[in-house]
Amino acid sequence: MEKENLFLNCGSEQFQNFFCNPSWENSVEQNDPFESALSSMVSSPVAYATASGNNDGENIVIRELIGRLGSICNSGEISPSTNTSRYSTPLNSPPKVNLSMMDNQIRRNLQNSGNNFPSFAPFSTDPGFAERAARFSCYAKLGLNNDSELPHRLVPQLDSGNLSRVSSNQSFKFSGSPPMGVQENRNASLQEGISASYRRLGRFSRSSTPEKTEFGDSRENSSVSEQIPVGENGFKGQNNSNSRKRKSVPRGKAKEIPAKDVNVASENSESSAKRSKSYDESSIEKGNTIKADASESDKVTGDGNQKQPKENAKPPEPPKDYIHVRARRGQATDAHSLAERVRREKISERMKVLQELVPGCNKVTGKAVMLDEIINYVQSLQRQVEFLSMKLAIINPNMEFNVEALMSKDIFGSRGSFLHNLYTSDAYPSQSQPGQNLHNGIPNGTEMPFQNGRNQSIQMPTLDNASEPVSQASTFWEDDLHSLVQMGFGQNETQSFHAILPTASLTIFI
């Protein structure tokens, strides 16, 4: 119970760590993300298993494997078909070829860690497993267009001796699945994934106690039943309405089973359901459920239970009680990746804004090239300012500046939109107010640096009282400038200016 809770959270964290950790993506062997994924998956549950005891460990491993395999397969299937995400993850690569390797890897790892798991005896009388096996065999018969060998391997194994138990268990689900199987196109890899996971699960759950099998049963049922329709959704790449319809069902199930629910079965099913759907086109709800608000569990439970029996024909349900960030299809929904996705979207949004600002960047795509353009443009603008100021400096002595005349002219050119985009708080705030403060300090502040600063750059009247509030900073500057100019180029200043100039100005020009 508590162990389950703990482990569920740990499992979800592992999930997050796994799928969000870029190192996994980089350390893929044979360019196969699934291998590394699976090896990580298998190895990590083992640690937990040893910690929490064999039986628990088995269940934990089972759940983990099922969920992860299923989710991997789902993601692998879903994303190529309906990849609406902007940023594809390595896990989106089609897993068809890899699943056989995956299977081997799993077997290898499991055998290596087989010490923790008492027996790999032939398939036990686990009713849940039997049902799964039967379901799988139905799928296998129903026209797998497989090129891989897995189904062939599995089917005979599963068929042996387990079909008899199928009828005893929850036949409605069993009957429910074949029709779905008939209708949908089975993708080989997903089948393999499910079958592989179930096979492993079966091996592990054999030795579990009846109690465990019981909730394993419900867990597996719910997970399977959820996975299959969900997987089918993924396969067909159904339009959003259908997918949402199905989605709502699993979501409902997820809702019904918050992480901290007392009901062990529901917890397990929730975890497996969550995992199975984690790569489905689902919302952040799973992420929320993982972190679970206990308060929401009560609300949710009632809804979920009602939905459980009806899986096939669901009316689309709006998600409730959760803060939603809609995840795109085939994308992870754990906290890290979600935060990353939000961040990425923010950045891309801002890049778009910048793209509009920089002239002639409409065809540019990609962050790097765009950044290049932006940098070039900012540099060119800065150079233009310098050039124009130089020009003004040359022209200046000869001109009379008629401020009003200039302002009356359309000096602003064609930048209409600019006017409203920037801050327009009080422009020249009561200059008297800060000015009064300044006038006391300015005569002291401006003269001294001028006299002392032979080696320094141009001496703007700097106020040493750095404690000025920021809001007044700009006003001070204006006042400084005005005061600087107003004070006139008295003898002191001019002399100091001349002194300053040689050191400062010779290197100005490019």
């Binding site: 962050k367 900012v378 401020v403 600019f418 703007m460 106020l463 100019v485 006139g488 001349h498």
Partner: protein, 156 residues
């Protein structure tokens, strides 16, 4: 920060603030200065104008953007000129290499360059840097436009 307080005066936009301030500064600079064609004076005026351009623009952007604060801070601390000099020297260094730069994957190189370009961009997160860059770009565009108009007005 985004409150648009419309003043009764006509100077209610950043551009107008900048333009008027700039013109006033120019006017006053000329008023008291004997027009000597010496290079020194020209240089001096150039510096003054440049610094005042940036400073006025920064101050015209009222409740501070980060870059405006940084610019004003630099001016206050008398490092503005040094920064400008450094920039003119390093323009060639930051010139963009060919687009096919293999390091462009994350764009860290460009991001660093961008940080150097935008005042105050050294210690910002990337997201905020983009914001500041956009704002800074807008202000620079306005500044260039105004100055060009002034120059054109007086060169004709």
């Amino acid at each position: 920060m985004n409150t648009h307080n419309q003043l009764p005066s006509s100077h209610s936009s950043v551009e107008s603030r900048f333009a008027s301030g700039f013109l006033k500064a120019l006017k006053k600079m000329n008023k008291n200065r004997p027009s000597s064609p010496s290079i020194r004076d020209t240089y001096r005026r150039y510096n003054f104008i440049r610094v005042s351009a940036y400073g006025l623009m920064a101050s015209a952007v009222r409740p501070g953007r980060a870059w405006s604060h940084a610019t004003l801070w630099k001016i206050r601390n008398r490092t503005f000129h040094r920064a400008l000099m450094k920039r003119s020297r390093t323009h060639s260094l930051t010139r963009r290499v060919a687009r096919g730069n293999p390091r462009n994957e994350l764009g860290c190189e460009q991001v660093n360059d961008l940080r150097k370009l935008v005042p105050g961009g050294e210690e910002m997160k990337f997201c905020r840097l983009l914001n500041e860059t956009a704002h800074y770009m807008k202000c620079l565009q306005a500044q260039v436009q105004i100055m060009r108009n002034i120059v054109d007005h007086y060169s004709t």
